[in-house]
Amino acid sequence: MIIENSLPILLSRLDFAWITSMHILWTPMTIGMSWLLFIMEVAWLRTGNERWYKLNRFVEKIFIINFGAGVATGVTMEMAFGILYGPFSQAVGPFFGNILGFETITAFMYEAGFIGLMVFGWGKISKGMHLFATFNVGLSSSLSAMWILVANSWMQTPNGVVLKDGLFQVTNWWNAILNDNFQWGFPHMWVATVELALFVLAGLSAFFILKNRNADLFTKLLKPVLLALIIVTPLQIFIGDSIGRVVAHTQPTSLAAMEGHYHTYLPDGKVNTGWHLIAIPNAKNDGNVFAITIPHVLSLLETHTLNGKVTGMDSFPANDRPDVWVPFYSFRVMVAIGFFLFLIAIWGNWLRLRGKLNASELRKRPWFLRAVVFSAFLPYLAIWCGWWTREVGRQPWVVNGLMRTYQGTSHMPVAMEIIWWVGYIFFELTVWAGSWYFFTRVIKKGVDDIPDSSTLFENHGDNAEAHPGGGHVTPTFASKPMLRSDR
């Protein structure tokens, strides 16, 4: 058994995997949705059409619950590198630490500074200032994603550094930041966030149309969203293929695990070109007990030739091979979801071509609407699976080829690792259940009680009535504590 699968190390991996998986449930929606909110706000300001304002304010309620959950789980992430992987944090400090520092200073704080203005600033700051705040939330959250992907991609392809005196010292900043994996890894993640946000909007719209609540309003939202999806979903498949080939070149063990590809050559000496639809790896992790295999497909995918050689697990020592189960199946689930979402986008746009994208026609096609609602959940699973593929495929390395996971693990007893995990299972599940429950509450309330945008700047003063559902707190007198005479 490789040392990374011994109990203390496995537990530290699970501890980190759990908090990461529960954090990545929230951030993609923030990143993607902030731009969509920005677009809706621009649409409102340019056209003056009230529906974009209403939709914006409605989606924003879901957005802020989601954001709160993201902050709640994100502060832990920022500390967990040092807590669970102290020696790793120390060794990678010169590069990875700097990048995480960049992230907190240029993105995390930036985002937190403007999100309060964006959500609670309606009617307190001018429309232009509010649009600026929304724009900054979008920019900062995308910057945040970029830095995190720089850091994580560098763990996959640690370019531009040399390991000296126990530290990964940077020799070339540009190579380290724009490392091989980052070039496609960041676009893949960023487009995933947009795809997720678009499908959440599409799913919300479909749900309201299905329930015949504000069906016309939400059809107006569904139409541009479906149009965007017909561009985004195939783009994501293309980017995914590109990152796959980067992995094939830079992390052959990860690719072999993703494909359950154990043998470079077949027993008769020919190149093993078979791609497994499904496979059951054996306990020794040196072959498949059972597999459904299609010849030539693997070579076609990875080398774009019929019989190209793809390096198998048997080219690497047993203790350098990652587990196959997780990367193999999570990779397949992710790919399947990617194609399924593409089909949904095609379906929707085919309806558009036939002129069926209006509320009454859509309501005659409940299965389409149900499929779209279902699709709103799938990007979450796809993002999970993609991240698991990435992280488990890199094992047993924490910094690919340079530092093994056990060398980066903190000094802590097994009991403590279990307590951490159990505690976070409780807290993260509470956050998850609570957030999803309150999403349903917001959806149940719907858009009808959102006041007209013309009421935004009213009701300042002592007799102010609070806006129901506006999240709007009225100061009883403006800035008196700040006035000179009051000091």
């Binding site: 902050v71 590198f81 999240g471």
Partner: protein, 360 residues
């Protein structure tokens, strides 16, 4: 001496980051301290309406304030990764509890508004979360002042051979952080936050409002407790930290004495402003007290990041990384302070309990 030697420049830059680290931590304590203290105040709220009003009063600001902690963590990771990777390992248990507190109060902010039957639950999650986060942050601070044992080689508790590294990792027990002093600093943090929270609530709610009036009494009690806590902490630190005692009674003893007098002056100004209901001024003088004490603590620690464990120079990133960090990140500090200030400015003004809650 060669003024332009790399080692000298790097030493200066790392000291600069040590100062920025203390600034980031200070901004966290100053801004989120009031929020946390108001949360502790909410433990004693009689009804959910009051907790809701307290939460609503900071709805637009709390995450900006709390993010200074993340910035401090990021600066620690970016400039002093050797401390980040060992101190956080040492502080695993207190940080874990503090983080659980932070999680509880962060989601409570969003959930309390929408909740109907579970308002009570989220109200308590907010109040208890604030208490836990404050107490264990204080424990972490006290534990850090005491230092921790380290050794090089493999850190994980497994039998593996063939790996060596010169880097010093944390090597003590997981309960090493737990001492009478660290427990005391936990209580000290709760007292300090309670005072800050009281001053904040007085400034935030209209005189005559039930929250304002209760916060007044609360602040009066907390300020006495805080004065006592400062005295106890100083004496205790003098007794157990030779590095502190040596500095305080060395040839520069008069600076420390003058500093204490300035602290007392600030505390007096705060209390005078409080008594005539100039609550915003009272809060700012109170934050001034925190700033002075915080600066004094860091001056006492110098030249360490963690006393007797990591010096600034030993803990710092290599010169090249520090230079890059300085070039690209320093300029963001005034920008961050600017937009955090703007955010607080937008949401300024006093509320009444009823209005804040209804808007909530």
């Amino acid at each position: 001496m060669d003024l332009l030697s790399i080692g000298r420049i790097a030493g200066t830059l790392t000291t600069w980051w040590w100062l920025l680290l203390s600034l980031a931590f200070f901004l966290y304590i100053a801004t989120d301290g009031t929020d946390l203290g108001a949360g502790i105040f909410a433990l004693f709220s009689q009804d959910e309406e009051e907790r809701g009003a307290i939460m609503a009063s900071m709805a637009g600001m709390w995450d900006g304030n709390e993010s200074w902690l993340v910035v401090a963590g990021g600066v620690l990771f970016g400039a002093f990764p050797l401390v980040y990777g060992s101190a956080f390992n040492y502080l695993m248990i207190p940080l874990m509890f503090a983080l659980w507190g932070i999680i509880s109060r962060a989601v409570a902010f969003e959930f309390h508004i929408h909740a109907q039957k579970s308002k009570r639950f989220w109200g308590w999650a907010f109040a208890l979360g604030s208490l836990f986060a404050t107490f264990f942050a204080g424990v972490s601070l006290g534990a850090t002042l005491q230092g921790f044992p380290m050794k090089s080689g493999l850190a994980a508790k497994i039998a593996a051979t063939g790996y060596s590294t010169p880097i010093m990792h944390f090597s003590g027990g997981i309960l090493d952080f737990l001492t009478p002093f660290s427990i005391w600093t936990g209580f000290g943090a709760v007292i300090a936050a309670s005072l800050a929270g009281g001053l904040y609530l007085c400034a935030r709610f209209i005189p005559g409002d039930s929250i304002h009036e209760r916060a007044r009494n609360w602040t009066n009690i907390a300020s006495l407790l805080a004065l006592g806590a400062i005295v106890v902490t100083l004496i205790w630190s003098y007794a157990i930290f030779p590095w502190a005692a040596a500095k305080w009674t060395g040839s520069d003893w008069w600076i420390w004495l003058a500093w204490i007098i300035i602290v007392l002056l600030f505390a007096y100004k705060s209390s005078m402003n409080h008594s005539v209901r100039k609550d915003f001024s009272a809060m700012m003088w109170g934050i001034g007290v925190v700033a002075l004490l915080w600066a004094a603590m860091w001056a006492t620690i110098f030249p360490y990041v963690v006393p007797d464990t990591w010096t600034i120079v030993a803990a710092a990133n290599p010169a090249d990384s520090i230079a890059v960090f300085t070039l690209f990140m320093t300029g963001f500090f005034p920008i961050m302070i600017m937009y955090n200030w703007y955010q607080i400015w937008v949401f300024r003004g006093r509320f009444s309990k009823k209005l804040a809650y209804a808007g909530h």
